[in-house]
């Protein structure tokens, strides 16, 4: 019984520490989605693959989203004709290279600044490397889901007759929705989809700003409950592992350089906890696992996990996701393994 009570205390403790950061992330991402004009941003992005990948990795600072919010944004970027290098680099880096995540990692690992620093560096390396790799593919459409390609073609046509009337523009979302249920997964919903963006210049009355405010609140609630639900599950798993898995098992897994990294990577993929708060989750393993493996968790978790898989399937063909997964996993393993030998 007391074990159960301990587990519950740890569970609540994780939540109490994480919810402020979750709320902050959600508030920022909701407000920036309303404020930042992606179209202007896109015109400023460099064309060179390497620079593009670097730029893409850093857009995370403008869209502080975790791995649930980045997929819809990356998809919008692709749809707007951003090069795959930029979009993929953004997809992989945004969940880590953003102010809220860096802050929460600092809160958790301030005593070990190298973890915070290396989390950023390793994530950047991965994002840029894979961004460059993707730029080799000249035609984006080879990588994408058929449905997305259809939409891309549609939008390209749309762009060609730029001077279309507002009525036509308003019809865009309905047309698109009927063909694709994929719209459904966006955690960053309707506000920034192209239809609304196109409408933007015309709608400037006070009524609209009130409506925007309403959408902002709705978006905050929506993301909070979605990410919060994930957080509750993740915290429950962490607390259970800490209290109920026999110490011998945890120690024998956690003290070895190789098994600890593999175990933490597996955990990162399964637990799917939001990157804004995953450092608190990782804290619960600090005392028993090698710091290399903690780093592996922090770098690998935000790039790919079960929850994000569903979202990524809305962009890429399954084959591409397997490639992505394999390359990232190897990079993370190699880098953290090297780290654990040097430190």
């Amino acid at each position: 019984m007391s074990q159960l009570h301990n587990a519950f205390t740890l569970f609540i403790s994780l939540l109490v520490e994480a919810i402020p950061f979750l709320l902050l992330g959600v508030l920022l991402s909701s407000s920036l989605l309303l404020l930042v004009d992606e179209r202007k941003l896109i015109t400023k992005l460099p064309k060179n693959p390497l620079l593009g990948a670097i730029a893409g990795s850093c857009i995370g600072f403008l869209f502080p989203v975790c791995e649930c919010g980045n997929v819809p944004v990356a998809r919008r970027l692709l749809l707007k004709g951003v090069s795959p290098a930029v979009a993929v680099a953004f997809l992989l880096a945004a969940p880590t290279i953003n102010p809220v995540v860096i802050w929460s990692t600092w809160v958790a690992f301030g005593g070990q600044p190298q973890i915070v620093f290396l989390r950023i560096v390793f994530s950047l390396i991965i994002a840029i490397a894979i961004g460059c790799l993707f730029s080799v593919q000249k035609d984006v459409k080879g990588l994408l889901q058929p449905r997305l390609i259809k939409r891309l073609n549609f939008l390209e046509n749309q762009q060609q007759n730029l001077q279309s009337s507002p009525q036509e523009k308003v019809e865009v979302p309905a047309l698109l929705q009927s063909g694709s249920f994929l719209l459904g997964e966006s955690a960053q919903p309707l506000v920034m989809n192209e239809a609304l963006l196109v409408e933007k210049p015309q709608l400037q009355s006070r009524k609209v700003s009130k409506q925007k405010w309403q959408q902002f609140i709705d978006n905050v609630l929506q993301e909070l409950q979605e990410l919060g639900g994930m957080l509750v599950l993740g915290s429950a798993i962490a607390a259970t592992i800490q209290v109920f898995v026999p110490r011998e098992v945890v120690f024998s897994l956690g003290q070895d350089n190789i098994t600890s990294i593999l175990a933490m990577m597996l955990l990162a993929a399964i637990v799917s906890i939001c990157s804004t708060v995953d450092s608190f989750f990782a804290l619960s393993f600090v005392s028993t696992f090698t710091s290399g493996s903690i780093l592996a968790f922090l770098v690998f978790g935000p790039t790919i996990d079960i929850k994000a898989l569903g979202l990524m399937l809305s962009i890429f063909k399954p084959k591409i996701i397997i490639y992505l997964f394999a390359i990232i996993a190897q990079l993370v393993f190699l880098m953290t393994f090297v780290y654990s030998y040097f430190f």
Partner: protein, 267 residues
């Protein structure tokens, strides 16, 4: 349009999920406020984050109240064109949040004790997450050092024999470890760097003149005595007990004390 009719059909369901998410947000606002007012937050998080928690609680309450007013005002809500959500079916996330908040309101947090300490592996070294002392500074007199300060001192200058004979008075809770003789116990405390999840147990072995059964595990003691050194075999953060020369407190005066309201040390 077919979209519109399905929207109307869905609106009942939609209102329910909206209501759930508002309740979840409000419940968490109330729970955090409760922890702030009762001081129970000390058992959960590092006090540095007190204001962050308080601010979050107020913000959650504001968001919740605003949305409640909105929900009450409009009889039929307009369903978003776009369906969100694939991670959970609608309402599951809110229900999880709501349930955990209600549980938190009913069940008070507990003080971590010897069981958890043994599970995590006790040590005489500072946690990885804490700020490592860079220099060896001893301004406090030995008998005024707390258990944590002793550990810190020992970490900065890890030569047990250097402290031999120094007087000490420390408080902590009792841990029994089977690998030690019957007249030894560990006096331990948790160090918190972020939240209870990373609470890190440190200890100093205590040599008693009697059997340790007199002081059952988890009893809080204030022990006065003098530091000495012994070679002891303790299974700290490894699978096998390690024999090592350790700093040991030889107890002269033992006083049982109630569990302090802030039982953890914070770093």
């Amino acid at each position: 349009m077919s979209n519109l009719s399905s929207s109307v059909k869905k609106s009942g369901n939609y209102r329910l999920t909206q209501l759930l998410s508002v309740l979840a947000v409000l419940a968490w606002g109330i729970l955090l406020l409760k922890y702030a007012i009762t001081g129970q937050y000390q058992l959960l998080i590092h006090p540095n984050y007190f204001y962050l928690m308080l601010f979050t609680s107020i913000l959650l309450l504001i968001i919740g109240i605003m949305k409640t007013r909105k929900l009450l005002k409009t009889s039929i809500s307009v369903v978003d064109d776009e369906q969100h959500l694939t991670i959970f079916p609608p309402g599951i996330g809110s229900s999880l949040l709501l349930l955990s908040a209600i549980a938190g309101l009913i069940i008070p947090p507990t003080v971590l004790a010897s069981q958890t300490a043994l599970q995590r592996g006790v040590t005489e070294t500072l946690p990885l997450t804490s700020y490592q002392p860079q220099a060896f500074v001893t301004q406090t007199r030995p008998e005024e050092r707390s258990l944590i300060e002793w550990i810190r001192t020992l970490n900065a200058y890890p030569e047990p024999d250097a402290y031999k004979g120094q007087p000490a008075k420390i408080t902590g809770f009792v841990i029994h470890v089977p690998e030690l003789p019957e007249n030894y116990l560990l006096l331990s405390r948790f160090i918190l760097t972020c939240c209870a999840v990373d609470a890190y147990p440190v200890f100093i072995p205590v040599e008693l003149s009697t059997n340790r059964q007199q002081y059952p595990p988890d009893t809080w003691l204030e022990i006065e005595g003098a530091m000495t050194t012994h070679t002891l075999k303790i299974r700290d953060r490894s699978d096998t007990p390690k024999e090592k020369r350790r700093l040991v407190l030889k107890a002269n005066n033992i006083k049982q004390i109630p569990t302090p309201s802030n039982p953890y040390s914070y770093q």
